[in-house]
């Protein structure tokens, strides 16, 4: 077991694994630590698999567009596993005039950033996806959005990074970071001490407590989201679906099963027992939502439900990049449930930051010290 490397990454989610992969590809030595015994057992294994550009904050949109244009199309080939990427569009559905106003606002903001997304009426929605009910009166349509398999993407990055010599240690719960001569250097876990020239904290919500040990506080909260999967069905439609009302989102996987995520409204008062616990009321609520939009799925059998936490940023976009006060310290957290779709570009950018190279895209909108009080 080695305890020193050029870069120590805390968190083996899709962000940590992707960063490790891009670093190792450039010859940097990397150790990845995770407190869980499983690789990528947080949000990376629990999300709905959306690879969307539409609906994103204008600050985040350039990352999503770069990933869709340059990284996702060849990712399966690059990693040597099928990440099941489909670039076949995203429909964000509306059932009321109020929904259409929300969608119009999102669409206007995205087109201003150069994204090809537009509003379509109910008839056009059903021409694209004939399974949607007459309750749907319109949608925003982005033909270049899509979805992928988050489990295979995370484990694919892990496998590829491991083959390049990245050292992964699970069951290593970080208790604190330590600086030496003002520079981030040591990572203390319950079992070991690791040292690196650079430390990247990509541990979801837990990043907050890890960064707190060196006096940095990222304003974020955590939100529980639940998801479910059906048995395999014959292929129905390839688009990613979402709704203006946020009743549910999801898609049909290559396997044939449908993965849908959603909420009941009681997430903030979930009886958290230390696990990602599902509530008995949420999955039925998601089912009721789905059936209003896709009546044909009423007979589909639910085989499994699960829950996961989102690390929600105070202003809705992640915190990415160097922490200037502590040279050598880098973070990527507070993804607010939008991290999976941008993970390939975030991994690329973090690898560039850690290697002190010029970054492919500007990261200044994601600085950790951007948060200001309202008055």
């Amino acid at each position: 077991m080695s305890r020193t490397a050029d870069v120590i990454i805390i968190g083996s989610g899709v962000i940590g694994c992707a960063t490790a992969y891009y670093l190792a590809k450039k010859g940097t030595s990397v150790i990845v630590l995770d407190k869980d015994e499983n690789i990528g057992n947080g949000g990376s294994a629990r999300n709905g698999g959306g690879v969307r550009q539409s609906g994103r904050d204008p600050r985040e949109l350039p990352l999503a567009m770069y990933a869709v244009n340059n990284l996702w199309p060849t990712l399966s080939e690059e990693l040597g596993v099928n990440v099941e990427y489909h670039k076949e569009g995203n429909l964000r559905l509306g059932k009321t005039e109020h929904h259409l106003e929300i969608l119009q606002g999102l669409t206007d903001r995205a087109t201003a950033c150069g994204l090809d997304v537009r509003m379509i009426d109910g008839a056009e929605v059903r021409a694209i996806n004939p399974y949607l009910s007459d309750e749907v009166i319109g949608a925003s349509w982005c033909a270049t959005d899509g979805h992928a398999n988050p489990l295979m993407t995370t484990l694919g990055y892990y496998r590829a990074a491991r083959r390049l010599g990245v050292q992964f240690y699970t069951g290593e719960e970080v208790t604190e970071l330590q600086t030496i001569k003002g520079k981030a250097r040591r990572v203390i876990t319950k079992k070991n001490v690791f040292e690196g020239e650079k430390i990247i904290v990509a541990a979801g919500y837990e990043s907050r407590w890890i960064l707190e040990s060196v006096g940095i506080d990222i304003p974020m909260s955590k939100d529980l989201i639940e998801a479910l999967v059906t048995e395999a069905e014959a292929p129905m439609f390839p688009q990613m679906l979402g709704t203006a009302d946020a009743d549910f989102y999801g898609h049909q996987t290559d396997h044939g099963s449908f993965v849908f995520g959603g909420a009941s409204g009681f997430e903030t008062v979930n009886k958290d027992n230390g696990h990602n616990m599902t509530s008995s009321i949420t999955a039925p609520c998601i089912c009721r939502g789905i059936m209003k939009y896709i009546p044909k799925l009423a007979n589909a059998k639910i085989v499994r439900t699960w829950a996961g936490y989102e690390d929600v940023s105070a202003d809705g976009v992640p915190v990415l990049g160097e922490i200037k006060e502590i040279p050598g310290l880098i973070t990527a957290c507070a993804f607010t449930g939008h991290g999976f779709g941008i993970s390939p570009i975030v991994g690329t950018l973090l690898a560039e930051v850690a290697r002190e190279e010029k970054t492919t895209l500007d990261l200044s909108a994601f600085r950790y010290d951007r948060f200001k009080a309202i008055i």
Partner: protein
């Protein structure tokens, strides 16, 4: 090997076995050879194997194959099966139609 935490330990070369094509997970049709290869790809836990291969993710949710998969993974890693944490059991216990499940907690009932 005593635990599954250190993913750098060399498991040696993957050696094919005569019964590698035997189906272990009947629901998702995952073979013994695929499970053994996944371990060599770095999937050291039952949870990772499930996510990588879909074994135990089908209609029976691993109620048939869980012990078999665990035995194969443990042998490949050279650990006791007791070291491997079983996969999390998830609701519902049996596959349930959306229209039935949806009635749970409905207001007018």
């Amino acid at each position: 090997m005593e635990n599954i935490y250190d993913r750098t330990i060399d498991l040696g070369e993957y050696k094919p076995e005569p019964d590698d094509d035997r189906i272990i997970c009947r629901c998702e049709e995952v073979t013994k050879g695929e499970i053994r290869r996944a371990v060599h790809d770095g999937m050291y836990t039952i949870t990772e194997i499930r996510r990588y291969l879909r074994s135990g993710m089908g209609l029976c949710q691993g109620q048939t194959c869980a012990k078999l998969v665990k035995g194969i993974v443990a042998r490949e890693l050279g650990v006791s099966p007791a070291v491997l944490t079983p996969a999390t059991s998830r609701a519902p216990m049996r596959p349930l139609e959306m229209k039935i499940f949806a009635k749970e907690g409905e207001e007018d009932e």
